[in-house]
Symmetry: C2
Subunit: 339 residues, 2 copies
């Protein structure tokens, strides 16, 4: 398979991208990579490393830069020669099986929606983020892509997350779906949560395990945690920072006493770069979004995430999930989704 990699995405592009690509090529034998960016810059950077362009490592020229001032919505029209638009074009045209970028999330989202299109039955594609827990990792959907969601959109997230949990995390059978909420009982929460609870409980395609409170998130009580992107994003960003902070307290304390600890190993559970990237779920294609501050290791893992998704036909599985929903007719209680 061939993966198109935006080589202008990270804060330290293209070096991080090239290092990540080289690691992935060494590890994943069936993967080829196309670096998408300024050809001159990329060729020089590869030459510096003594690496030649080959069948497995190509370069596609994309000279335009997307700036912070560019509106994501206009990127496709105004920056057709940017790495994001060129790379997604390669994927759409069948010249790549997936696209990966650590560039502007807004721009990648908007360009992916425009060029790949949402799958039938999906109102709002969503980025699913994998969160470490005490048990197995958990899919958080939505983690910041969509705010002001409707109940039926959260139900769609539950389906997208379920397919992803099966394909990416290897969950057997029906993944356990939880609803992020502020109490255990069905009537707890805001209007969105109360209405979503009803719809999830009535959806026979899902294994709904009920409300999940903030304190239960870390316990790994579900495989897919469904929420609006506002609370999801607060949770995600807070998680990362508080874990780092507590590890920092430990480190400064032990350093003072001369005690060494293998922090990377001890806290590997908290290491986000293990998961590398998050695919945009619900579009007719595979667009994997990474942090702007990604390390080479994170990018290598994002390439692995993309390769796994291609092998498992994640996009086909999502399309089938929503085709089944349509075929089954509206679930009981779906009239409430019109609110």
């Amino acid at each position: 398979m061939r993966i198109a990699l935006d080589a202008s995405g990270t804060d330290d592009a293209p070096h991080v991208e090239i290092e990540g690509a080289l690691s992935a090529l060494a590890e994943l034998e069936d993967v080829s990579i196309t670096l998408v960016g300024d050809e001159g810059v990329l060729t020089a950077a590869l030459a510096d490393r003594g690496v030649a362009v080959s069948d497995r490592l190509g370069v596609v020229h994309a000279p335009d830069r997307i700036l912070a001032s560019d509106s994501p919505a206009t990127v496709v029209r105004r920056k057709p020669e940017s790495s994001i638009v060129r790379g997604l074009g390669l994927h759409r045209d069948g010249e790549a099986d997936a696209f990966i970028s650590a560039g502007s999330t807004g721009a990648v989202m908007a360009a992916s929606l425009f060029l790949l299109r949402p799958l039938p039955g999906v109102d709002r594609p969503s980025v699913a983020t994998t969160l470490p827990t005490v048990g197995a990792p958990m899919i958080l959907v939505d983690s910041g892509t969509n705010v002001d969601c409707k109940p039926r959109q959260l139900v769609q997230f539950a389906h997208l997350g379920s397919v992803y949990a099966r394909d990416a995390l290897g969950v057997e059978g029906r993944p356990r779906v939880g609803l992020l909420n502020i109490g255990e009982e069905p009537e707890k929460g805001d209007e969105l949560a109360v209405e979503t609870y009803e719809l999830l409980a009535a959806d026979s395609q899902l294994q709904f395990v009920g409300n999940v409170e903030g304190r239960d998130v870390i316990r790994g009580v579900c495989d897919v945690l469904v929420t609006d992107g506002f609370a999801g994003n607060v949770l995600l960003k807070f998680y990362e920072s508080v874990a780092q902070h507590v590890v920092g307290i430990v480190k400064s304390n032990l350093d003072l006493r001369g005690i060494e600890l293998d922090y990377e190993k001890t806290f590997s559970m908290l290491d986000y770069s293990e998961y590398g990237g998050a695919p945009l779920l619900g579009v007719n294609g595979l667009s994997v979004i990474c942090h702007g501050g990604s390390t080479p290791k994170a990018l290598k893992n994002a390439i692995r995430v993309a390769a796994d998704a291609v092998r498992n036909d994640l996009v086909g599985d999502m399309a089938a999930e929503f085709a089944d929903r349509t075929a089954a007719g509206p679930p009981a209680g779906s009239s409430a989704t019109a609110t």
Copy 2:
């Protein structure tokens, strides 16, 4: 001053309450405490400890038990002899300067609203929780009391939190108010956040420092963090659990290697019981709400919180803050609050 303490609130009542009260009496010379609960049970429990009822430690009989099945809204009418209703009645009637309970939060809230009444200008009283950060502690308001809030209600939370930060945390001048959001720019977030941002920025009584993302919470970038109770509660409960979890990882790792660490001291920053209880802000009285799982130390600290609030005239200061708002007329942009 005299503080009425619900002696039937915690999971291990009345022992935790009595221990907390005795510690507080030893520490706070100007405080007297009235234990509110079953007189027979309390008298026996005090006798077991060799403690006599005195001027500083009284007992008021309240035989009714509030059950999980009782609707909070009906508690005042149906359970007038419960410790919550009796204790709040003592405060309302001037026989106590404050009321503290670790009982059902919903029941304490509802009874406080009914018996003490909201202050003029306050739509929804709110529980303010003190969160530890890398810097100074921070007031999170709302932390789960109110969901589906309107922008103008979040602005009221900002005022309530500002008064509390001055009176309880000793912040000088105008406390820094941040808005919990999923991006830094004013246009980021959901509708509620975008509209609230405008109102906060236009409110000359407040020192608004802008949006605060999940990753910034722990950094202590503001004194008052304003949000709807849904995101606030998710954040609060998650904080507690993830900190415990990371500390647990450290402990099991160091235990295996025979390394001892004073966890209580090392992680004192993360110790919620330091803050003990949270007053219900925006009512015409002082009702302090504690965790059902409170320790004697937490209850002692809640008594300290209540005593500080009485000394600083928190209720008078809140009333003055809202009187100033009314006198100043509606702030610019307040028409948007009608949404």
